[in-house]
Each structure stands twice: as C-alpha cells, then as structure tokens.
Symmetry: C2
Subunit: 238 residues, 2 copies
C-alpha cells in the first residue's frame, strides 16, 4: 500500500540545507505513547522534528473542552509557535499517540544559527509562511459551514495527510474514534455520529473492520463545503 499522495510533509517543504541544519543542532529523544512531549503553558525551550511515531497537537480548557488541531507524523515540526518570541510558553499540548523518536532542537540555538545565515532563514520563512496560510485556511474551514463544514474539511485534510488510495476510494490510514473526530471540530460526539451516519447512508464513506474510514466520494465532501482546492501543503492535518 503506498500513500495516496506523499503529502509534502514539513521536511519536504524545507530545503535539504535547512533539514541538515536542524539535524546538525539537534539531539535524539525517544517518546512513548500516552506521554506528552510538551504541555500548554510550559516554558518553551525546544522545538521538535519528528523522526517516527505520531503526535497530537491540541488544546484542553479547564472545563474539559478538548480541541485537536494537528496529528503530526514523520518529518513534521512541532513546538514552532514559540520561535522568535520573548518569554516563550507552549500555546498547545503535544500528546504522543504512537511511540517514536524526535530530534530535539534548542530554540535559542536555532535562532542564533538562522540569524547568521540569511538563505537558511529564508527557507524557514517559507515554511512559516506556509504554516501561516494553513492555519488561516483552517479558520475558514472550521467556521464558514458550521459543524458539517468542520467535519467534512477534517475528513478531506486527513485523507491528504494519511490517505491510501484504493480501487474503491481513499482509506484514511489511522484509527480515529468519533470522539477524536469531534475534537477536531469542537463538536459533540453525538452530532459527529449523526453526520457520519448520514454520510454512510449516502455511500460517501464506509468504516472498515479496524475502524478506519474509507472515503468513496471525496468530491461530495468538497462540493458541500465549497472547497477552494488549496494546494496539499495547505490542505492537510499535520
């Protein structure tokens, strides 16, 4: 099984020069499922380049509301929001979904390296600019068509990040419960259950025996939310 589209992960968006710089100034660290790489509010000294495993980036409010923003995989960068900020604290939390390994990059060290090398900073800016446009496009997706728009855009982004093309459609190749999907949309699980049930009746999706979703009619979802056919580097979930 090959991935539908080798989604341009963050590292593909970064030049090999920048990737090598990140590698040269980093140390390796193992990470275990169910632990946190970092938590919201912690002092932020590091950012991370994922070598293996899966990380969920999200936010948890004191009254238990849980919002998932990204599921990150190999070659994705996390902890980036604290770069170039004074008294940096993590705005979001990074929960390990699957054991793996990360390259740990000291924030100050990276900033110093970047300031000496305009070309490398330029590469990093390109990556940040794409990241900015990705987050901007999410506001549109998550707001403009209500909870239906939030769910449908999440399914499309998941298929771009974790999709495996099959004869009958696209398998989203990670197991996500309806509660996991609800966390992407700040919606109630019950309403996600209903919407998914409706999509199943329409033959737009089906669920395989392992609980993974198969998109049979992705264009139906796109049409419903007036998808703007953003490039893959924008329309993804990691």
């Amino acid at each position: 099984m090959n991935f539908l589209s080798v989604r341009p992960s963050d590292s593909d968006l970064i030049s090999s020069d920048l990737y090598e710089l990140l590698e040269s100034i980093s140390t390796k660290r193992k990470m275990e499922k169910h632990t946190y790489l970092f938590r919201e509010g912690m002092d932020a000294e590091e950012l991370y380049l994922i070598q293996s495993g899966l990380i969920e980036i999200g936010k948890l409010t004191s009254d238990g509301k849980d919002l998932t923003l990204r599921i990150c995989q190999k070659h994705d960068i996390v902890g980036e929001l604290t770069l170039f900020t004074e008294e940096p604290r993590y705005m979001l939390s990074a929960k390990v979904l699957e054991d793996g390994e990360v390259l740990v990059i000291n924030k100050n060290k990276l900033e110093k390296e970047l300031i000496q090398n305009g070309a490398l900073t330029f590469e990093f800016m390109k990556w940040m600019s794409t990241h900015l446009r990705k987050i901007q496009s999410k506001i549109r997706d998550l707001l403009l068509h209500g909870k239906k728009g939030a769910l449908y855009s999440t399914l499309i982004r998941l298929s771009n990040s974790y999709g495996v093309e099959r004869s009958d459609g696209i398998l989203i190749n990670i197991v996500l419960t309806n509660q996991d999907l609800a966390k992407f949309c700040a919606a109630a699980r019950e309403s996600v259950n209903r919407m998914l049930g409706d999509l199943r009746k329409k033959g737009v999706i089906s669920i395989d025996e392992s609980g993974k979703i198969i998109l049979h009619k992705r264009d139906y979802l796109r049409c419903e939310i007036e998808c703007e056919n953003c490039p893959l580097e924008i329309c993804n979930i990691d």
Copy 2:
C-alpha cells in the same frame, strides 16, 4: 481621548530598522472608502503597510457567506500571507473602510532585501511568529465556546485594538453594525442581536448614540470564555 492601550500595532512589533527598510523600498498610494486594496484569488505582487485609514480583511464565499478576520489600522501590515510563496495569490480580500494611504511594498523586492540581511529577516520572523500565534489563538476563541465565545472574544479583541478608556468602561471607538459583528463570528445577525441584547440587560455593555459599543464589564466576557490573558500583541483584531 487617548486610546486605552496604545495597542502594540504591527509596526511597534517591528524594529525601527525593519520599519525603515519597509519604508525605503515602498511607494505611497492613496485608497478610497468602499474600494478594494486586493481581492481574494488575485495574483499577489505586493504587501502594504497602512499609514492612515481602515481596512477590513475578510473572505466571501460564492454562496454569499462573509467572514471578517481583521480590521487593520495605522502601522498594520496586510497582504503578508503571500510572502515566500510560489505563485502567490491573495487568500483574503482587503476592503477599504475609511479613506487613507498605504505604503506599497513589492514582495520580491522585500524578499531579496531580507535574504541579504539576517538581522532584518530575524525581525520579520518575530513579527510573523506573533502573527502565527495570533491566528492560532483565534481558532480557539472562535470554536471552543460556540457563537457566544466567538462574539465575546471579538468584543475583547476590538477593545484591545480600538478601545478608549472612560470612567464607565471601555468605548470601542469604531462604528460596527450587528451584521459587521456577525461577520467576525460566522454567525447569523439575529443571534448576534439576541446575544448583545442579553449583554445589555446584564449591564455588561451599552450602545452610545453613534452606535458604538461601551464595555462596562469586560471581565464578565473574559470569564465566560475562560480567557487565557494572552498578551496584547496576540489578543487584538488588527
């Protein structure tokens, strides 16, 4: 009347060096109310530093859904999402709300300048990183507490950007209709009417004769949406 907090506008977040660089490579252009500085989908060759006037940054879908993301004022930068991108197109539209003048900065020219000067790029990165965190914080505000959270956070952000402190509270010193407020929240005007009516009954807000909103109990709004007391450079609307 002095502004409540001279909200750190984008230019204050940029060093004088960077501001001078932007000025040195720009040309002046007048802009008239009701016209567009740029529209979504247009080729993006320029970004703009506002010298005077007001600009509304937003998105309009083909079925007429209207989402406002920023109201920008003096010293704010707009058109920034296209920097460092290939085949740049504006993701959003920039509508002139009040006559004024902008500095027009050619995108390629700026990118070339920045690549030669690591320190200036560094300053620009700081600005971009703050912008990234601001947009990220909006996703939380606009989603986590439903339409009430979207409206209350918009009122708080407006007061940080356009607030004038008075003995009885904070005057949001621009005229916004309920429809304008609804566009920030992707909500129906009727539901914004109801929520504002409720706030008026509770004495949290009042409306002056010119239609401007006065916040009498801003902390009530903060408490309702579990405000995280983000710094002013994050919690604003421009």
